[in-house]
Symmetry: C2
Subunit: 192 residues, 2 copies
């Protein structure tokens, strides 16, 4: 997606440790009109007409997933990180390793809000090692629901998480795949 | 807002300890079309035309704030809870007590994304003790920005957080104020 790549080049910052900051439009300050364009771009790739639910992980995936769900006319469910006392009852859960927080976290989705009849599009803003997405896929599979696909805005291709999901057979569409990011600039994987 | 009150009565659950669960449409599974109607309801109360930014707190405020910002054509910024290594540089911060997690948490907003020229609408899904909102107000004031108002979907009126903000002179609009919630049902504060 050309518009997204241009924003990454123009506004993204490359920090030591392969950290690519896009917090001016994606995950701290959120450009809601860009989110709308990203949602419409996913709709070109996935069969949106069959989706009953958009699933994401808190916190930074929620903004994009909400705009997608609103434009597709379906609800959005976000997996909660295990820490709140306010989640009760039957839960789907997946344990993932968070590279951001450098510890294991548990993702939870109430069985009340995800059913085997659901056709799910997983959406996230960022994909690096792919742990959050792997956990979401696991939750969809626990529910016996159908995973229609995985839509991601920005993928760090060189960290391998996306390719592992593709090799496992999931329909993963990332709108900007960064192959290299260093002092010399940002290089994207060629679009097919 | 009649539609919201009806959803609370129909789908809300009252748990021991004055916990009111509305996670079927507001803060776990999110009814994105209801969020749209809530955003339009806020637009009747606040002068949306002057707003440059919608501000909220992670995580459950993000969905509603995003829909509001998208419909008003402005960016959405969410305050992060202090835990991530990926936030750098100058920060506005407020320390609040989280009744959900029963500990102090720090809310952070990068100085890059909130400026004294901004005219801010704070949006949140839920207001009980009002700590998260108090912290957001503090952050807006640290930035020297103009606070246009505070829009909340569901307020637990009996916990006093909303009235404290009103008494302090802030323009707080809650679309459903719950005055009592127990085995006998849910009672709302009369609309003006």
């Amino acid at each position: 997606m050309q518009q997204l790549k241009e924003r990454i080049v123009k506004e993204g910052k490359v920090l030591p440790g392969n950290i690519i900051k896009v917090d001016g439009f994606l995950n701290h300050r959120v450009d809601t009109l860009l989110m709308r364009d990203i949602a419409d771009e996913f709709a070109k790739h996935f069969d949106i007409s069959k989706i009953t639910l958009v699933l994401t992980a808190e916190a930074s995936g929620i903004a994009l997933a909400t705009v997608c769900a609103e434009r597709y006319g379906v609800p959005m469910v976000f997996a909660k990180k295990a820490k709140s006392d306010n989640i009760e009852g039957g839960l789907f859960r997946s344990d993932i390793f968070s590279y951001t927080y450098k510890r294991q976290v548990t993702q939870l989705v109430s069985k009340e809000w995800l059913h085997k009849e659901d056709k799910v599009l997983i959406v996230d803003d960022f994909l690096a090692n792919g742990e959050a997405l792997r956990g979401l896929v696991e939750i969809v599979e626990q529910a016996g629901a159908e995973l229609v696909g995985i839509g991601v805005a920005v993928e760090k291709g060189f960290q391998g998480g996306g390719d592992r999901l593709r090799q496992a057979g999931y329909d993963l569409k990332s709108l900007a795949v960064i192959e290299r990011a260093d002092a010399n600039g940002i290089v994207f994987r060629d679009d097919e």
